[in-house]
Symmetry: C2
C-alpha cells in the first residue's frame, strides 16, 4: 500500500486534478491519497487557503464578507465545471462554507482553523466526486471518522498517539481513499490545523499508521539535487539518500519538504519518494533509512548564509566544569538555538542564525556572558556561511577532508571553522558569507565533476 500526497500546485485546477487522478490510477497500490487545498494556477494567483483566511478575517470582524465568500466558491466552481461534475458539488462546497461561517461568534483561533481547513476538506470531496464520476471505487474520508485526533493547539497542533491505532484501520478499506491534509480534530470534536507543511504531516502520519511501503510526496520538482541549482548549473539529481543525509543537507536552501513533518515515517523506517506531478515518469528522489553506497563518498553539498559566530575565550576554560553548560543556559534563556559549537582549549565559537539577534538581545547576551562567566574575550562575527559536504560514504573513505580542504584552499577560501562529529556523515566548514558561492563551486567540482 502506498500513501501519496499531492500539494497545492498539483491540484490548482481541473487539468491538474485530472493529472493527479491519472497518477493515482496508474498504480493500484496508491490507495490512500492526501490532498492539499487548490494552490496557485500562475504566479499572480491566490491560493484557496489565502482566500479562506481573507474571508474568515473579514467575516469575523464585520459579520459579512460576500465578495470574499464568492471568490472561494468561484474557485471551486471553476474546478467542478472543468471536471464536468454536477453543479450539486459546487452547492455542497457553498453550503459547507456557510456552515463554517456560523462558528464566527466564538473563539477566533478556533474559527480560523475551521475556515482554513475548508480548502483541503472540500478539495478532497471534489477529487473523490471526480473519481466516482469516472466509475472508480473511491471515497472521501473524513478525518474525524477516521480518528485523526490532535492536541487542542489551534494552528500548531500535534498528533495524539491514539490516532495511529485508529488510522491503522484504513488499511482494511478496499477503496481509493481521498483524505484531506492539514487538519484533524480535537477530542472535543473541533477542527484543529497543523503548523506549516500541514498536508505533508498528514501524509506522514497516515503512512506510518498504515505501515505504507512508501510515502509518495508529489510536488513540482523532478528530484532533489546534489547542490543548489542557483549556484551550480544543472546539478546532479540525487536518486536516493538517507534520512541522515537529508537532515545534514537541510541548510541547502532548496529543500522541498519540511523535515519535521517526516518524523512519523522516519520512526517507522518508511521510505519517502519525492516525485513531480507534471513528470510522473521521472524516478524522483527517495529518502530511505539506508542506501547502497555506490555513488561516491559525497552525495550532496549544502550551504547557508546568515549565520554568526559568538566567540568566547577564557584562560583555562576547558578545566572549568560547567562552563559550556552555563553558556548554553544563557542562550536558552534568551530563546536562541545554536547550530554547532566548534572549540579550542580555551575558546568556543557558538554558531547561530543571526536573524535571532537584534541589537538589544545581542547586547544583553554579550553582557550576561561577560558578567556571569567572567570571560576574557567575547565577540560576535557576522555574515558567516556554513558549507556542508554530506554523504554516508565519507565514513569509510580516508582522504575526504583532504580533498575538501584542498579544493577550498585552491579556491582561496579561508576556512574559519571546521566541525565533524564521529557520525562522519557530514563535514562543516564555517567561512565568510562572501566566499559561499566560490566554496560550493569548488566542492562541487571536486566531488561531482
Amino acid at each position: 500500500m502506498k500513501v501519496a500526497k499531492f500539494g497545492g500546485s498539483s491540484l490548482a485546477d481541473a487539468n491538474q486534478i485530472r493529472k493527479v487522478c491519472d497518477i493515482i490510477l496508474s498504480d493500484k497500490d496508491r490507495r490512500l491519497i492526501v490532498v492539499s487545498a487548490p494552490g496557485k494556477r500562475n504566479k499572480e494567483d491566490t491560493k484557496v487557503t489565502d482566500l479562506l483566511i481573507a474571508l474568515a478575517d473579514k467575516y469575523y470582524k464585520e459579520g459579512k464578507a460576500d465578495a470574499e465568500l464568492q471568490a472561494v466558491i468561484d474557485r471551486f466552481d471553476d474546478i467542478v465545471k472543468g471536471l464536468e461534475l454536477s453543479s450539486d458539488v459546487t452547492q455542497m462546497v457553498a453550503d459547507d462554507l456557510k456552515k463554517r461561517l456560523e462558528c464566527s461568534n466564538g473563539d477566533k483561533d478556533k474559527f480560523m482553523d475551521t475556515m482554513k481547513a475548508a480548502g483541503e476538506d472540500n478539495n478532497a470531496k471534489v477529487v473523490a466526486a471526480y473519481l466516482i464520476s469516472k466509475g472508480i471505487n473511491a471515497e472521501y474520508v473524513n478525518p474525524k471518522d477516521a480518528g485523526l485526533l490532535l492536541s487542542e493547539e489551534y494552528g500548531n497542533a500535534r498528533v495524539l498517539p491514539e490516532s495511529y491505532e485508529n488510522l491503522k484501520l484504513l488499511r482494511e478499506r478496499n477503496k481509493i481513499m481521498i483524505f484531506p491534509g492539514f487538519f484533524g480534530y480535537s477530542k472535543k470534536g473541533d477542527v484543529v490545523t497543523f503548523p506549516r507543511g500541514g498536508s505533508d504531516i498528514t501524509g506522514a502520519i497516515l503512512a506510518a499508521a498504515v505501515k505504507a511501503d512508501v510515502y509518495e510526496n508529489f510536488t513540482d520538482v523532478d528530484s532533489v539535487f546534489a547542490a543548489n541549482p542557483n549556484i551550480i548549473d544543472n546539478p546532479k539529481p540525487i536518486s536516493t539518500f538517507t534520512y541522515r543525509e537529508m537532515r545534514e543537507l537541510s541548510y541547502s536552501g532548496f529543500s522541498v519538504l519540511h523535515e519535521e513533518t517526516l518524523e512519523p515515517v522516519y520512526r517507522m523506517e518508511i521510505p519517502v519518494c519525492i516525485k513531480n506531478t507534471n513528470n510522473p515518469s521521472a524516478p524522483g528522489t527517495t529518502i530511505a533509512p539506508t542506501r547502497k553506497l555506490d555513488n561516491g563518498p559525497v552525495i550532496g553539498i549544502a550551504s547557508g548564509t546568515g549565520f554568526c559566530s559568538i566567540y568566547i575565550s577564557k584562560y583555562m576554560m576547558n578545566r572549568e566544569i560547567g562552563f559550556g553548560r552555563k553558556v548554553l543556559s544563557i542562550l536558552e534563556d534568551e530563546g536562541l538555538s545554536y547550530e554547532h559549537i566548534p572549540s579550542g582549549i580555551d575558546n568556543m565559537s557558538i554558531i547561530i542564525e543571526q536573524k535571532q539577534l537584534d541589537k538589544v538581545k545581542e547586547e544583553r547576551v554579550v553582557k550576561r556572558i561577560k558578567d556571569e562567566l567572567k570571560v576574557d574575550d567575547i565577540k560576535i562575527e557576522y555574515d558567516r556561511a556554513l558549507v556542508m559536504i554530506v554523504g554516508e560514504g565519507m565514513m569509510s573513505t580516508v582522504g575526504i577532508a583532504a580533498r575538501a580542504c584542498s579544493a577550498l584552499a585552491k579556491a582561496n577560501v579561508n576556512i574559519e571553522m571546521i566541525n565533524q562529529g564521529s557520525s562522519e556523515v557530514s563535514m562543516m566548514f564555517g567561512i565568510k558569507a562572501e566566499d559561499n558561492v566560490k566554496a560550493v563551486k569548488a566542492l562541487y567540482d571536486e566531488f561531482f565533476n
Copy 2:
C-alpha cells in the same frame, strides 16, 4: 626586575645549589628568587617533601618518628656540609622541624600542611645563608611577613586578592630575596599549601605582584619542543610561543609547567621564560602574550590518547532548544569534564578523558541521556586520540587544513572528528589511538621537515 623560580631537581644537593646561586648572581635583575624543596639527586632518591610526608604521617599516628625525622635532618645536613656552612644551620633546620611536630595534636590537614611546607621554607633559609656566607646582600623572606595570604583550604589553597598589594612592596627591597615556594598563610596565621605545582604558583604570584619584566622558571630541560620527543627524534625547539599556543599544546604530554599556575602572570601579560639550570646559557623557551609570526604557520603538534567519544543522535536535534544544555547538565551532575563537542545536524560527539568513566558511571550516564533526552542512539567509542596542530599564524594562512588533512590521508589515518573554532589558533583531529604516532609523524613531516 626578574622573578626566578628553581625547581626541586635544581636544588637537590649542594652542587646544584651552587649552580643556582651562580645563575642568580650572573644577572643583577634576578632579585626575587623562589625555591622548591630539595628534589631527587638520582632516580632512586626520595624528595624532601616525600620524606616530610612520611615523617608527618607516622608522627601523627604514633607521636614518635625518630628515624623519619633524622632522614630529613640528614638531607639538609648533607647540603649544609656541602655548602661549607656552619652546623648552626643544620641545627636551625632541626629546631624548626621539632617545633612543627608540636602541632600534631590538632587538625590533621593543618598539621600536614605545616610539615610539608618545611621543605621549601628551610631550603630558602639554607640558600639565603649560603649567599650571605659568600658576602652577598641576600635575605630569606618569610611569606607571612611578606603578606602572602591564602584561603584556608589545606593542600588546595588559593591566593587572596590582598596579597598582591602586600607583595608589591618587595619591589622596594634592595637585596636578593629568597622566597620559599608552595605555601603561604591563612588570615588566622596558619601555614596553608597550594595544590600541585605549588612553587610555580608562588613564582607567578610574585611576578605578577612586583610586575616583573619576566618570570623565569628554571627546570631541567633546555626548551619546549614542537612535538613530543618520545614520538619525533630531536624535535625542533620552540623559542617563543604565546599563552594561547601553550594552552592549545597542553595535550602534548611533555608539558613542563602546570598551566593553571600561570594565570597570575597571564593576566598581567608578563612573559615566562623556561630555562635549564644545568645549561643556563641555552636560550630556553619564552611564553609571551604575543609573538612575531616569523616561524611558519604551525608552531607545534600536540597529541594525547586516553579519550573517548560519547556519540548521541536524535532526529531534529538541532531544532530542540535546550538539548545541548541538558546533555552538558547531565555530564556536570556526574562530575565529567569534556574537551570538545563536534556535531552534525542531528548528532553530537562529546569527547572526554575516558579515565573519568568507570563501568558504573558509564552505564548511569548512558541511561540518563537515553531516558531524559529520548535520544535515538547513544554509543561510546573508546581509545581515541586527539591530535592538535597549533599556531597563531594559521589564522592568516589559507590551506593549513588542506595540508594537514592531506598529510593524514597520505599516512592512511582516518579522521573521525575535526574541530576548529574561529580563533583558528588550533585544529583538532579525533582519530583512533592506534593511529596516534603515525598521525603526529605525518603532521610533523608536513609542517617542520
